[in-house]
């Protein structure tokens, strides 16, 4: 067992539904969860005589993603028909792009795998991001859904038919499940940033198909295991687990059978989410021949420089770049920067709060510890809580000045979300302003010292008891002020008393 090594090779195909209002080639609304076959028309039903008309917005969205993935965007692209018979494909061909995709030869930077999950929030961002090659990205129309219900019949729901679908193919640059997951997460962040897809996995808006094999070095020789494509994964977890499972399975299989990669021995497997295993899918009797040829019903797309520039103008700073900038510019931890840049709305909100004078670290704490939790509970974005960036900045300022404690700030934030009122007003209303007036507090300290001679004695005696006694005295003062004393100021006064 010890005389071999293996290297994992994973490439990823990702399908992303674009959130255009209408379908790729007709005017039907793109919808999810509607009554079956209620979002269809003769065109997406593939009725006799219909013709497709390209959705310009879908094309622009796709180009935008291509640009974000650092792809070359050719000035000429065309459509092709991909033929296969399946009941969810009413024309029995899919309009897709074959030899001239709208984007090619790009790359995506992904955060170091596992980096985002790191527990040590404040550890420096030492690990480098990794560059994964993008072979191509092309547009096509999504198919419908076959519903295998009871009895001898299947039903077909064609609402999804014709939804714009962007297929992105990565180079086999990924080293395993964790990296594949990191790529998928990053891509989700990117499409959400660009506003071209909600990337909602539960609605099937992102689907993954990894290609996996191993290079095994044994007795000085290299062996490649047969490539396996795992079909139709629709969660990050399934993506990661299925790859990790395949790695082990292929290793075992190789050791047992010595099977190596040959022409035509690539197989397709499905993922059994319950048992957490990949399952060989029924092999087709004959190899697929999609008989691609240029779609005669659509004219090729000529992307002029002016048009491309216009689309390029809609690019925004991408999440990973923003994350890195937050670490550098705002001195945030990589973890915090990652959380803040998870959604574009959160990052934008954070930056407006900082722009109106909020101290970055404190604004960050308010958002990550209170805002996002609240937003999550309400199922909205942090920017949709009804709290202005200005008031978050003000609240951060109050914390910085010691006017309110961190705990009070959380309560104030929640109250802001509820009432929309200014933080200072709420602090007053809720009596959450800290007493920091040294004179007033000193009188109270004196009262407490006088009332607790044993504690005073303990403090002066030094040793272990001293620390505990100081805490007790501080607690007494806090109690006396109903929690409104600034503990820092009180501690300082106590310390001074004992010189």
């Amino acid at each position: 067992m010890s005389d071999f090594q293996h290297k994992v090779i994973v490439g990823l195909e990702i399908h992303v539904q674009l959130c255009t209002r209408s379908k790729m080639f007709c005017g039907c609304a793109v919808a999810f969860g509607e009554q079956a076959n209620s979002r269809v028309c003769p065109v997406c039903l593939g009725m006799p005589g219909v013709l497709p008309v390209m959705n310009k917005q879908a094309f622009e969205y796709a180009v935008l993603v291509g640009l974000a993935l650092n792809c070359e965007i050719p000035s000429f692209t065309k459509w092709d028909r991909k033929s296969y018979y399946y009941p969810d494909l009413p024309k029995n061909y899919q309009i897709s792009q074959y030899d001239l995709p709208l984007a090619k030869d790009g790359f995506i930077q992904i955060p170091p795998a596992g980096g985002k999950k790191a527990k040590g929030k404040d550890e420096a961002d030492s690990a480098q991001s990794k560059r994964i090659g993008i072979i191509r990205a092309h547009l096509e129309e999504d198919a419908g859904k076959n519903l295998h219900t009871a009895g001898n019949f299947s039903s077909v729901d064609l609402n999804r038919t014709g939804t714009p679908l962007l297929e992105i193919v990565s180079e086999p640059d990924l080293s395993g499940g964790a990296e594949a997951r990191a790529l998928a997460v990053e891509l989700q962040r990117i499409v959400r940033y660009l506003g071209v897809s909600e990337g909602d996995m539960q609605k099937g808006q992102m689907r993954f198909e990894p290609n996996i094999n191993l290079v095994i070095t044994k007795d000085g020789k290299e062996f490649k295991t047969p490539i396996v494509e795992v079909k139709n994964l629709n969660s990050f977890r399934a993506l990661e687990r299925s790859i990790d499972y395949e790695v082990q399975r292929q290793l075992d299989e190789f050791l047992e059978t010595g099977l190596v990669l040959e022409m035509g021995n690539k197989t397709t497997r499905g993922w059994d989410d319950e048992r957490e295993v990949t399952v060989l899918q029924r092999e087709k009797e004959e190899a697929h021949d999609y008989r691609y040829f240029p779609e005669p019903d659509l004219v090729p797309v000529e992307l002029t420089d002016a048009w491309l520039d216009e689309i390029r103008g809609r690019l925004c700073e991408l999440p990973l770049a923003r994350q890195v900038r937050y670490v550098e510019e705002y001195k945030l931890s990589d973890y915090d920067a990652g959380v803040l840049t998870g959604e574009r709305g959160t990052a934008d909100f954070f930056e407006s709060a900082v722009a109106t004078g909020g101290e970055p670290k404190r604004v960050c704490n308010l958002l990550t510890q209170v805002g996002l939790k609240l937003a999550n509970e309400k199922g909205c974005g942090v920017d949709e809580l009804g709290v202005t960036a200005q008031s978050v900045a003000d609240l951060a300022g109050m914390v910085a000045l010691g006017d309110v404690s961190a705990g009070a700030a959380a309560a104030i934030f929640e109250a802001m979300a509820e009432t929309g009122k200014e933080p200072r007003l709420l602090a007053d209303e809720l009596s959450l302003i800290q007493k920091s007036d040294a004179g007033e507090l000193e009188a109270m300290v004196d009262e407490v010292l006088a009332a607790n001679p044993q504690a005073v004695k303990d403090v002066t005696s030094g040793g272990k008891k001293s620390k505990k006694a100081r805490g007790f005295l501080l607690g007494q003062v806090m109690q006396k002020t109903k929690g409104q004393a600034n503990p820092k100021v009180v501690s300082e006064i106590i310390a001074r008393k004992f010189g």
Partner: protein
């Protein structure tokens, strides 16, 4: 009234001299009389047509504005989708198919206040040159009922020749308007690819298909073009009018083209029957007499046109016809045991022989390993043919040649010999490959009194000039007034 052209009829109806109800009623009278012999229609709509005619008459009587075809009884080929009746493509697989929408040309006809009397027979899915491939009906030639009307728009041509309508629409993928027009002694125009919307035309060869008029006169063809031509946002391949404006094809129709230069391709013409060559030469003499110059032009790649056509058209057809699978609509086999058999049995049962042949040819041509040798090569040939025309039109305004090597042949004569049948498209196919417009006009008769057509080809979007050139001939002869025996 039977003698009138569509344009003359429209003028009389608009002027209140004839009612549309009278004209439409008369058409149905002739249908009752002749249709049992001719078999031009797959469906007719007597009641709705008469009701529509009455409505047009009422609007005219009320002094309302009416369309360019107000009250004129017309027919459409049964591969154009209509919300009324079935749209069968003369195929058993669509025998009971009712379209949920109207083709753009149907909408345009209705908007022009035409009265659609019926939908005409054709070769199944427009695949054929004799209408004998119809899965539903036989149509005969009104000039000789033992002969074919040509195809695939044989029903439309026979209906116009038999005076069973005043004008009709056909579709032309490799000659399917021009050849039956020639066989039936009527006018047939295949417009430039992209001039008329294909939305709602059931596709055969999408990059070649084009809808056009079949009429008694050149003037009527121009009138029909005024109604159906133009950009359609629903058809991405229809041409932007900023690039190629649509004009009023009637406006200058009677102006002869001055200094007309006619291109001829001598090596091509020799392949036609003697009677056809004679009629062609006689027609060219008419133009010469009108002052035209004749220039010989070369079409060096024309030998490859048929080969390229039958690869491109069948490849596209194999994909276009994939949707007829019994799953969503159309014929479904009741013998299928699983979903794959729903496909294979439904298709095996309901497609005709020629359709199956072309689907198989096209599937083969697109198959992995053969694509480059067949489809890609055919596209290259297509480009060369396009270039041949571009170069030829530098020397001439139009090219004249036969429409078909023969006149109408006997029913059954070629059905078992598909290759000979394919070869009869030799003169018409190049225009489809090049996307240019072509017209067939009556130019004579053979020894059996069968009509012969003159084909005139023009540069892309030069329909205006093409129609004027055709009109020059029509003005000099009375061939278009000759009537078939049955009439």
């Amino acid at each position: 009234m039977e003698e009138l052209s569509a344009k003359d009829l429209r003028e009389r109806i608009a002027a209140g001299r004839i009612t549309s109800v009278e004209a439409t009623g008369a058409v149905f009278g002739r249908i009752d009389e002749r249709e049992p012999v001719i078999g031009a229609y797959l469906s007719t709509y007597r009641e709705t047509a008469l009701a529509r005619a009455a409505e047009v008459d009422r609007r005219i009587a009320a002094g309302e504005q009416v369309g360019q075809l107000a009250g004129v009884p017309v027919a459409i080929k049964d591969n154009m989708c209509s919300m009324f009746g079935a749209t069968t493509c003369a195929s058993r697989i669509l025998e009971n198919f009712h379209s949920p929408y109207n083709a753009t040309v149907v909408k345009k006809l209705l908007a022009a206040d035409a009265v659609i009397v019926g939908k005409t027979n054709m070769d199944e899915f427009a695949m054929g040159s004799s209408t004998e491939n119809s899965g539903l009906k036989q149509t005969v030639n009104p000039w000789d009922t033992s002969r074919v009307p040509g195809g695939s728009s044989g029903g439309s041509a026979a209906a116009v020749a038999g005076r069973l309508c005043y004008a009709a629409l056909g579709s032309d993928t490799g000659g399917s308007i021009r050849q039956p027009a020639s066989f039936c002694g009527v006018v047939g125009l295949k417009p430039t690819y992209g001039r008329v919307s294909r939305y709602g035309l059931v596709a055969y060869g999408s990059s070649l298909d084009q809808i056009g008029p079949i009429t008694q006169t050149v003037t009527d063809a121009a009138l029909m073009m005024n109604v159906i031509a133009g950009h359609d946002p629903a058809d991405s391949t229809s041409v932007d009018e900023a690039v190629a404006p649509v004009c009023d094809y009637l406006a200058r129709l009677d102006e002869p083209v001055e200094n007309l230069r006619i291109g001829i391709v001598p090596q091509l013409n020799s392949g036609a029957d003697e009677s056809v060559q004679r009629a062609l030469n006689a027609a060219i003499d008419v133009y010469k007499a009108a002052g035209a110059d004749i220039v010989e032009v070369d079409m060096p790649h024309s030998d490859y046109a048929i080969g390229a056509y039958y690869i491109i058209a069948t490849a596209e057809a194999s994909s276009n016809l994939a949707r007829y699978d019994g799953v969503h609509y159309g014929h479904r086999s009741d013998k299928a045991e699983d979903y794959v058999e729903v496909y294979s049995k439904s298709r095996a049962e309901a497609f005709g022989k020629e359709v199956k042949r072309r689907i198989m040819l096209g599937t083969y041509a697109l198959s992995s390993g053969y694509y480059d040798a067949y489809y890609l090569k055919a596209l290259k040939v297509r480009n060369l043919i396009r270039r041949d025309f571009t170069e030829a039109f530098e020397k001439c305004d139009c090219i004249m040649m036969p429409v078909a090597p023969t006149t109408a042949f006997k029913l059954g004569e070629k059905v078992d010999d598909p290759l000979t049948m394919y070869l009869s498209d030799v003169y018409t196919i190049a225009a489809n490959l090049a996307g240019i417009p072509g017209i067939s006009i009556p130019c004579g008769f053979d020894e059996n009194n069968l009509p012969i057509g003159l084909q005139i080809l023009a540069p892309a979007f030069a329909e205006d000039k093409l129609l004027r050139i055709a009109k020059m001939f029509e003005a000099e002869t009375d061939l278009h007034r000759k009537k078939p025996t049955i009439v």
